[in-house]
C-alpha cells in the first residue's frame, strides 16, 4: 500500500501550488485596483492555509515565513494597514519567496536564509510603520538569533504574560474543587492561553479514578500583580503544585516562544457562566480598503535570480491542479472527437472493403487507432463530468421546507454524492429530483400519528442515492412510508378511464400507473405536490434525458423510485436497424426486447394497424418505414424484425424494421441545429461509412401509433403484461 503520509504530503504541495497561484493573482488584482472585497480574504486564506498545512509536515521555515506574511495580510484585511503600492510590492516579492520555500520543501532542499531574512525585515518595516517599534525590533532580533527563524506567537502578545503551572493533587478534587472554575476565575484577570499537560496520565488500566494526573500550563496576559493571581488559587493552594513565573521583561528573550511539544496547545473552554443570549450572526466584516484608483502601477522588480524563474516554470509545469475552461471549448472538443470517432470508423470500413487481411499491419494499426480514439472520447467526456453533489446539496433545505409544510418529521440520508455525471445531465436532474423528494415526503411518508400507530419511528426517512451501474447513473429516491395504495390507484385509474374496469393488472403495473398524466391519488389537493402534475412530469423530463424511471413499492414499508440516466447526452447507445434501405438508430434505452412475430399473433385492426398479441395483452405494431414515409407499402409482420419499445409514461409499441445490424455508440448531432426539427426523428448521427443515419424519436412514434390505434379501438387498451 502507498504510504498515506506521502500521499497527503503530495496533496499538500498540490494545494500549495493552487494557493500560490491564487495569492499571486489576488495580489496583482489588488495592485491593479481590480480586486473585489473577497480578494483580500482569499489572499489571506491562501497564505494561512499553507501555513497550516506546512505545520503538519513540520516544515518550520515555511510555517514561520507564512506566519509573518499572514500577519501583515491580516492587518490589511482588518484595515489597520493600507494596501499601498509599497506594501503590495513587498507582498508580491514575499509571494515569490514563499513559492521558493514551498518548492524547496517539496524537494527537501532549503532556501538561502538571507532571502527570507531580508523579506522578514521588510515585513517588519511595513508591519510596524508607526506602531510598536519595540516589538519589531524584537522580532528582528529573534530572527537574527534563530538564524532566519521566527517564533510565531510574538506579535499577539501585548500585555505582559505570566506563566502559571498548576498541578492539582487528588485532595483538590476530593474537596469538589473544579479546575474549570479556577481557570475561569483566572480569565477574569486577562486573556489566558492554557496548555494541558497530560504526560503523567497513565494507561487506562493503571488509572486511579480518584487520582490527579493533569497539569495546566497557563499563560496569562495581564497587568495584575502576583497577589491577584494567588488569590484565585486561595482555596486550593495547599492541594496543588503551583508555580507562578512573572512576565519576562519587555523585549523578551528570542527563540523561547514555541511552547509544548510540536507547538501543540489545547484549551478546553469552561462551560459558559450562565445561559448565554442567542448568538447573533455577525455582519460580514467590512471589506478591507483596497488600493483603488492606483492605475498603471509598475510591478516592482522581482527577485532577479534567473534560477528562481526557471524553478518557477518547472514547478508550474508540475502542478496538477484544476483549471477553469470555457464550456464552449470543451464542447468544441467533444464535437471534434465525435468527428474523429466517425472518421476512424470510416477508415476501418474502407480498409475492410479494400480486402486487406485482418492480421495485416495496417489492420492492426487501425485497431490500435480505434482503441486510442475510444480512450480520447472517454477522456473528453470525463472533462464534462461533475459530481452530483451540487444537486444533492440543495435537498436538505428542500426536505426541511416540505417537512415544515406537511408537519412531518423527516430525515434525509444521501449517499454517493461523489458520483460523476455529465454537466448537462446534472443541470437537468435537479427538477425531477426535487419533485421526487417532495413527492416522497408529501405522499410517501405517512403522518406522524399514522407512523406511530403502525409501530414505526415518528421520524420518516427519505433516502437519496446516486451510483454508477453499467454505464449509466442510477438515482434512487426511497421512503419508509406506507407504499403505494394499490386499491386506490387502480380505482382512480378506472375512474379516469386510463384502464378498463376489468383489466388484469399486476402490482407492478398498478404502481407504474402513477406516472400517467393527470394521475394523483392524494385524497386532498396539497400545495406541495399539487394535483396530477408530478410523476408524469418527472417521467417526461427523465425520458427527455434518455432515461427511465421505475417504482417498486412494498405496502407498509415504503417506495423506491429508481431513475436511470445515460452518463452523457453527447453519445447514445443505439441499435442500428434498417427500414427499406434506410439506416436508423433506435435508442437502446427505449428497447425492451426484440421479437420475431408469428403470424397467428398478429391481429389486423384495419389495413394500417395491426395488433400483436403478447403474453395476454395487445400492443399496436408500427411499421417504421411507413410511419416515416419511406414507403407506402406495409411490411409483412412475419417478414420483419420486431422491437418492443417503451415510450413516455410506459406506453409500449412494437416497431417493425427489416433487419437489425447491431449495437453501436453514436455521437448525437442535432437535427434542429443543422437542418430543422423533423417529426418522429430525435437527432442524427454519422455512420462509419460516412452516411447520415437518423435517430428515431421513439416517444413520438409510439404516441402517434397509439393515438391512431386508440381512435379505432372501442375501449382503452389494457397495458400489456411484459413479465
Amino acid at each position: 500500500m502507498e504510504d498515506p503520509m506521502a500521499a497527503i504530503r503530495e496533496t499538500f504541495f498540490q494545494e500549495c501550488e493552487e494557493q500560490l497561484a491564487e495569492l499571486e493573482t489576488g495580489l496583482i488584482a489588488m495592485e491593479n485596483g481590480t480586486a473585489e472585497a473577497e480578494t483580500v480574504n482569499a489572499v489571506f486564506r491562501a497564505v494561512h492555509s499553507m501555513k497550516g498545512g506546512a505545520g503538519i509536515f513540520a516544515l518550520d521555515s515555511l510555517v514561520r515565513f507564512a506566519h509573518v506574511f499572514e500577519t501583515a495580510l491580516d492587518k490589511v484585511r482588518s484595515g489597520t494597514l493600507a494596501a499601498s503600492p509599497a506594501v503590495l510590492g513587498v507582498f508580491l516579492r514575499a509571494a515569490d519567496v514563499l513559492a521558493d520555500l514551498v518548492h524547496a520543501a517539496r524537494e527537501n532542499t532549503s532556501v538561502d536564509e538571507s532571502r527570507t531574512a531580508v523579506m522578514v525585515a521588510e515585513f517588519d518595516q511595513i508591519n510596524n510603520a508607526g506602531e510598536a517599534p519595540a516589538l519589531a525590533m524584537a522580532a528582528a532580533a529573534a530572527l537574527a538569533a534563530t538564524g532566519g527563524l521566527f517564533a510565531p506567537e510574538l506579535e499577539d502578545e501585548a500585555a505582559p504574560a505570566w506563566e502559571i503551572s498548576f498541578a492539582p493533587q487528588p485532595e483538590l478534587y476530593a474537596k469538589a474543587n473544579e479546575t474549570a472554575i479556577i481557570l475561569r476565575e483566572l480569565r477574569r484577570l486577562g486573556p489566558i492561553d492554557v496548555r494541558l499537560d497530560t504526560s503523567r496520565l497513565p494507561e487506562l488500566s493503571e488509572l486511579d479514578p480518584e487520582g490527579a494526573y493533569l497539569t495546566w500550563h497557563i499563560r496569562l496576559s495581564s497587568d495584575c500583580d502576583e497577589a491577584a493571581i494567588r488569590h484565585v488559587f486561595e482555596f486550593v493552594e495547599d492541594d496543588c503544585v503551583l508555580q507562578i513565573t512573572p512576565p519576562e521583561p519587555k523585549g523578551f528573550v528570542p527563540g523561547t516562544v514555541i511552547t509544548g511539544d510540536n507547538g501543540f496547545k489545547f484549551e478546553f473552554f469552561p462551560p459558559p457562566e450562565a445561559e448565554e443570549e442567542e448568538p447573533v450572526m455577525e455582519a460580514p466584516a467590512p471589506p478591507a480598503p483596497v488600493a483603488r484608483g492606483v492605475q498603471a502601477q509598475v510591478i516592482p522588480p522581482k527577485n532577479p535570480a534567473v534560477e528562481v524563474m526557471a524553478a518557477k516554470a518547472e514547478a508550474a509545469a508540475a502542478v496538477s491542479a484544476t483549471i477553469r475552461v470555457d464550456l464552449d471549448r470543451v464542447d468544441r472538443m467533444i464535437d471534434l472527437v465525435g468527428e474523429l470517432v466517425i472518421n476512424e470508423a470510416m477508415l476501418s470500413q474502407r480498409v475492410l472493403e479494400a480486402g486487406i487481411a485482418r492480421a495485416s499491419g495496417v489492420a492492426m494499426a487501425l485497431e490500435e487507432l480505434e482503441h486510442l480514439t475510444r480512450e480520447i472520447q472517454d477522456s473528453v467526456m470525463e472533462i464534462r463530468a461533475q459530481p452530483v453533489r451540487s444537486v444533492f446539496q440543495r435537498m436538505p433545505r428542500l426536505v426541511r421546507e416540505v417537512a415544515a409544510q406537511t408537519g412531518k418529521q423527516v430525515r434525509l440520508v444521501t449517499e454517493g454524492e461523489g458520483t460523476e455525471v455529465d454537466k448537462t445531465v446534472i443541470e437537468r436532474i435537479a427538477d425531477p429530483l426535487t419533485h421526487m423528494i417532495r413527492n416522497a415526503i408529501d405522499h410517501g411518508l405517512e403522518s406522524t400519528e399514522r407512523r406511530l400507530e403502525a409501530g414505526k419511528p415518528a421520524e420518516g426517512t427519505v433516502k437519496l442515492i446516486a451510483l454508477h451501474r453499467s454505464g449509466r447513473i442510477v438515482l434512487e429516491v426511497s421512503d419508509d412510508g406506507g407504499g403505494i395504495n394499490r386499491v386506490r390507484v387502480r380505482q382512480k385509474a378506472i375512474e379516469n378511464g386510463v384502464v378498463g374496469p376489468d383489466a388484469q393488472l399486476s402490482d407492478d403495473e398498478i404502481d407504474n400507473l402513477i406516472f400517467l398524466p393527470g394521475f394523483s391519488t392524494a385524497a386532498k389537493v396539497s400545495d406541495i405536490s399539487g394535483r396530477g402534475v408530478g410523476m408524469d412530469v418527472v417521467r417526461q423530463s427523465v425520458a427527455a434525458l434518455g432515461g427511465r424511471i421505475s417504482i417498486s413499492s412494498r405496502p407498509g414499508l415504503g417506495s423506491t423510485f429508481t431513475l436511470s440516466l445515460p452518463l452523457t447526452l453527447a453519445v447514445l447507445d443505439g441499435m442500428v436497424v434498417s427500414a427499406r434501405g434506410h439506416t436508423l438508430i433506435i435508442p437502446l434505452s427505449a428497447i425492451v426486447e426484440t421479437l420475431k412475430p408469428r403470424a397467428q399473433d398478429v391481429f389486423p385492426l384495419d389495413r394500417e394497424i395491426n395488433l400483436l398479441a403478447l403474453r395476454g395483452g395487445y400492443v399496436p405494431m408500427v411499421d417504421v418505414a411507413a410511419s416515416l414515409g419511406y414507403s407506402e407499402q406495409f411490411i409483412e409482420p412475419e417478414q420483419s424484425v420486431a422491437l418492443l419499445v417503451e415510450g413516455e409514461g410506459g406506453v409500449r409499441a412494437v416497431l417493425l424494421v427489416d433487419a437489425i445490424h447491431g449495437q453501436r455508440q453514436v455521437v448525437i448531432k442535432s437535427l434542429e441545429a443543422n437542418y430543422r426539427a423533423v417529426p418522429g426523428i430525435a437527432a442524427a448521427t454519422v455512420m462509419g461509412d460516412g452516411r447520415v443515419a437518423l435517430i428515431l424519436d421513439v416517444d413520438a412514434v409510439v404516441r402517434h401509433a397509439r393515438s391512431d390505434a386508440g381512435s379505432r379501438t372501442p375501449e382503452p387498451l389494457a397495458l400489456t403484461d411484459a413479465n
Binding site: P4, M5, A7, I8, R9, T11, F12, Q14, E15, N41, A42, F44, R45, H48, S49, K51, G52, G53, G55, I56, A58, V63, H67, P152, E153, D156, P191, D193, T198, S221, D261, N262, G263, F264, K265, F266, E267, F268, F269, E276, E278, P279, M281, E282, Q393, P396, R397, V399, R400, L412, V413, T414
Partner: protein
C-alpha cells in the same frame, strides 16, 4: 457504534490528514470543506464531535459554530476549533460563538484524538 467526527477544513491536505489519523483511531470521519458545507452535512448526519478550522471560504468557523449552536438540538454538541490562529481575540470569539475547545495547529494526532475522546465521553 463508533464515534462520528465531522471535520470542517478547506485544506485537502488537512482533511486527508484528519481522516487518516482519526479513522486510524477508530472514529467514523465525515468531512466538509467549509462552514456551509458543514451545515449541509449536519442536515444528513449527526456527528458526536465537530472539529472545525476558522479561516475558510464561504462561511468561516465562527459563523459555522454560531449556526450550529442556533439549533437547540446541537447546544451540547462538542465543537473543537483546530486552527493555526494564536490570537487571543479570535480564541475568545470562538468561545463566544460556542466552541467547546481550541486546539492550535500543527496538531498532534494523539492529543487531538485524546481531546475528541474527552469531549465526546
Amino acid at each position: 457504534m463508533s464515534t462520528t467526527v465531522l471535520t470542517v477544513d478547506d485544506s485537502r491536505a488537512m482533511r486527508d490528514m484528519l481522516r487518516h489519523s482519526l479513522a486510524a483511531a477508530g472514529f467514523r470521519v465525515i468531512q466538509a470543506e467549509d462552514g456551509l458545507h458543514g451545515l449541509e452535512m449536519l442536515e444528513a448526519e449527526t456527528p458526536d464531535v465537530i472539529v472545525t478550522d476558522i479561516n475558510m471560504p464561504r462561511m468561516d468557523g465562527f459563523g459555522f459554530i454560531e449556526a450550529v449552536r442556533r439549533d437547540d438540538t446541537r447546544k451540547a454538541l462538542p465543537v473543537l476549533v483546530l486552527t493555526t490562529e494564536v490570537d487571543v481575540d479570535k480564541k475568545n470569539r470562538a468561545r463566544a460563538a460556542g466552541a467547546t475547545g481550541w486546539i492550535v495547529k500543527p496538531f498532534d494526532p494523539v492529543k487531538l484524538i485524546e481531546a475528541i475522546r474527552r469531549v465526546s465521553a
